[in-house]
């Protein structure tokens, strides 16, 4: 039965365990706590963002909600159905969660959509027109009748996205849907996601590690790290929570002792060395010092003085607009671009 809460998740945990053989009779049991008591809900017609670094537990959560995985504990409801009502849940969802994978390479894009339409029990009379309009919507006309093996990564990604729309379900679950898309295509895909929400009142869970995507699309964002939701609110409210403080970005050569001295400087609340991707098209990443402080206007001379007297060479200082990345950094002390180590707890024993 449809409800106004399209997704309800309460105290959801998922532990993966594996055994490592140490000898004939000895083994070590590794327990990975991928999700630790996650609780949230998503209203009908809402775009809910799950923002977190790689390995934070986003995909595990989506896999549970799509019934591909069973949780270790906790409760989840999708469209009012509990996880054991898997047929009803599957009929309520259009999902994209393996990137560009999940297509039959020897079939054309159109044939893939036809087949998945049949798997979702879309009547033949509706299927053909819907596929035609999806192909037009995603500008796939030129490649739709070519076998998928001839597609680029981006084209496959778009076709997988089309696949997630083929059953026109009330809920869309999208896991990093813009991976491998170029800037223009990613923007276009986000526009379509927004249209699916605004024009068709679809409820959308949008997983990403790209803060600007979450800021652009989502009405609420859950920031997930190490399997826990560490912040959950409207993106604006999350940012406003930080805006009483200023964030400075300092580029240059910053020795360890300068950073340590800075932590003792009045007005400085926290410092982190982060890395940013250069915008010159290369894969080069440059470290910078992120400083959260009170009243930067007043404290800036003292900050500069502390840095330079401790051997720092400053190339540039910017006062940053607060972003969701800053919210994440402020809570975790790490960047969203960092990978999260999967193994959270290792329990050893023998059997």
């Amino acid at each position: 039965m449809p409800t106004s809460k399209m997704i309800e998740v309460k105290d959801l945990s998922k532990h993966y365990s594996s055994k490592k053989r140490l000898g004939i009779f000895k083994s070590e049991k590794n327990v990975v706590k991928a999700l630790k008591g996650v609780t949230f809900d998503v209203d009908q017609g809402e775009i809910f963002g799950l923002l977190g670094p790689n390995g934070a537990g986003k995909t595990t959560l989506i896999k549970i909600l799509t019934t591909l995985l069973l949780p270790t504990s906790g409760i989840a409801k999708v469209n009012g159905y509990t996880l054991d009502q898997d047929k009803e849940i599957k009929s309520s969802i259009g999902a994209m969660l393996m990137g560009e994978r999940g297509l039959y390479w020897k079939l054309t894009g159109r044939e893939n959509l036809e087949y998945f339409g049949a798997l979702y029990h879309v009547p033949k009379s509706i299927r053909k027109d819907r596929i035609k309009s999806l192909i037009e919507l995603l500008e796939l006309d030129k490649i739709a009748d070519r076998t998928v093996e001839t597609y680029s990564s981006g084209q496959k990604m778009k076709m997988v996205f089309a696949r997630s729309l083929v059953n026109d379900a009330p809920i869309l679950m999208l896991d990093e849907p813009t991976n491998t898309l170029d800037v223009k295509e990613a923007r276009r895909l986000r526009k379509i996601v927004k249209e699916q929400n605004e024009d068709y009142n679809k409820t959308i869970i949008y997983c990403t590690h790209l803060m600007h995507e979450a800021e652009e699309l989502c009405q609420r964002v859950g920031i997930i790290d190490h399997g826990e939701i560490i912040a959950l609110d409207d993106p604006m409210d999350l940012k406003q929570g930080l805006q009483k403080n200023d964030i400075l970005s300092v580029e240059g050569t910053i020795p360890e002792k300068a950073q340590t001295a800075l932590k003792l400087t009045p007005g400085v609340m926290s410092t982190q060395i982060l890395v940013k991707q250069m915008n010159n098209g290369s894969t080069e990443k440059r470290p910078y010092l992120n400083i959260t402080c009170e009243n930067s206007h007043q404290n800036l001379p003292e900050i500069i003085s502390t840095l330079t007297t401790n051997g720092a060479i400053i190339r540039n200082i910017d006062k940053k607009e607060t972003t969701l990345e800053d919210v994440f950094v402020n809570i975790t002390g790490r960047s969203l671009m960092d990978d999260t180590s999967q193994v959270i707890k290792t329990k050893t024993g023998s059997d």
């Binding site: 993966y16 365990s17 594996s18 896999k63 799509t66 019934t67 591909l68 995985l69 069973l70 270790t72 047929k87 009803e88 599957k90 009929s91 309520s92 969802i93 999902a95 969660l97 393996m98 994978r101 999940g102 297509l103 039959y104 390479w105 020897k106 079939l107 044939e111 036809e114 087949y115 998945f116 049949a118 798997l119 979702y120 029990h121 879309v122 009547p123 033949k124 509706i126 076998t147 696949r163 059953n167 026109d168 379900a169 009330p170 068709y200 009142n201 679809k202």
Partner: protein, 288 residues
């Protein structure tokens, strides 16, 4: 507004069956030369023991006489025996690994999770897959049998060909059931190729592909009787070569296949479902 959730009707289930059948057929047709290789492989498999028999006995007729005398299969042409055996063996192994290879291929392609995310019933997908394999089996069996007979100058129409085909289609059903077990094994251990390769030749030995199982020790013969592949092979050989229906009569033999056709898919599917459930509780079905 989004579309209403589609109701699952008999027609829509048939849509999944037909869709799966067509997808498999299209995929198969886009791998050039596979059908030719399917037909050629059992003939090559049969050629080796046939030529070895000829080399050891001096001629095919002398080898046939020795074969009759040593196996007690009166009137059995050893060339036909081996050609039929190799073709049935090829069909049985394809069907036996069908589901295991299907799981593996879909895992690596990334489509297994996409299939499991859809509301389509697994049985509908499996029926579609099975229909495709049945069609492919009939074509390759007929092709391989006719080509083998032509190559070794045997009259292919000496027995009851239509009965043999009916036995083939019916006798593959329990093999699909066993295929679920191997599917469960692949879901559990992921990389099971070496095990499957070894198992293939054990299956061949117990089916009586190149020799009747009467040459095996009695304990091995009992194992053969418990394997539906043996009954499938023997019944086809009996239909095409006029061998004795040693268990009462033809209906007795078909009755045994019928029991296997009921029990094997049930047991196989039950075990597969349990393994699938365990996988969902563990790391998931798409990991490979």
């Amino acid at each position: 507004m989004y579309a209403p959730i589609q109701k699952m009707t008999l027609k829509s289930h048939w849509g999944v069956v037909w869709g799966t059948f067509v997808v498999r057929l299209k995929t198969f047709s886009r791998y050039k030369g596979v059908l030719f290789m399917d037909i050629l492989t059992p003939v090559l498999l049969a050629a080796m023991p046939i030529l070895l028999g000829q080399a050891l006995s001096g001629s095919i007729s002398a080898a046939s006489a020795n074969f009759e005398q040593n196996t007690g299969l009166t009137g059995a042409n050893y060339v036909a025996f081996i050609i039929i055996g190799a073709n049935v063996f090829s069909t049985v192994t394809t069907s036996l690994w069908l589901f295991g290879f299907f799981i593996r291929r879909e895992q690596t392609l990334g489509t297994l999770e996409a299939l499991f995310m859809s509301p389509a019933h697994q049985i509908s997908i499996l029926v579609g897959l099975t229909l495709y394999v049945q069609l492919r089996s009939v074509i390759t069996f007929l092709g391989g049998y006719l080509f083998g007979c032509l190559l070794f100058s045997i009259n292919p129409f000496q027995g009851q060909v239509l009965l043999a085909l009916a036995i083939l289609l019916f006798g593959l059903v329990p093999i699909y059931g066993l295929s679920f077990l191997l599917g469960a094994l692949v879901l559990k251990v992921k990389q099971a190729n070496s095990l499957l390769n070894t198992l293939q030749w054990i299956v061949g030995a117990f089916m009586g592909v190149f020799f009747p199982i009467t040459v095996l020790p009695i304990t091995f013969q009992i194992v053969s009787y418990l394997f539906p592949g043996f009954w499938l092979n023997y019944n086809i050989q009996a239909a095409l070569m006029g061998l004795d229906w040693f268990f009462v009569n033809m209906y007795g033999h078909l009755g045994i296949l019928f029991i296997f056709a009921i029990t094997c898919p049930l047991i196989g599917y039950l075990i597969f479902s349990r393994t699938e459930s365990r996988s969902k509780r563990a790391e998931g079905i798409g990991q490979f």
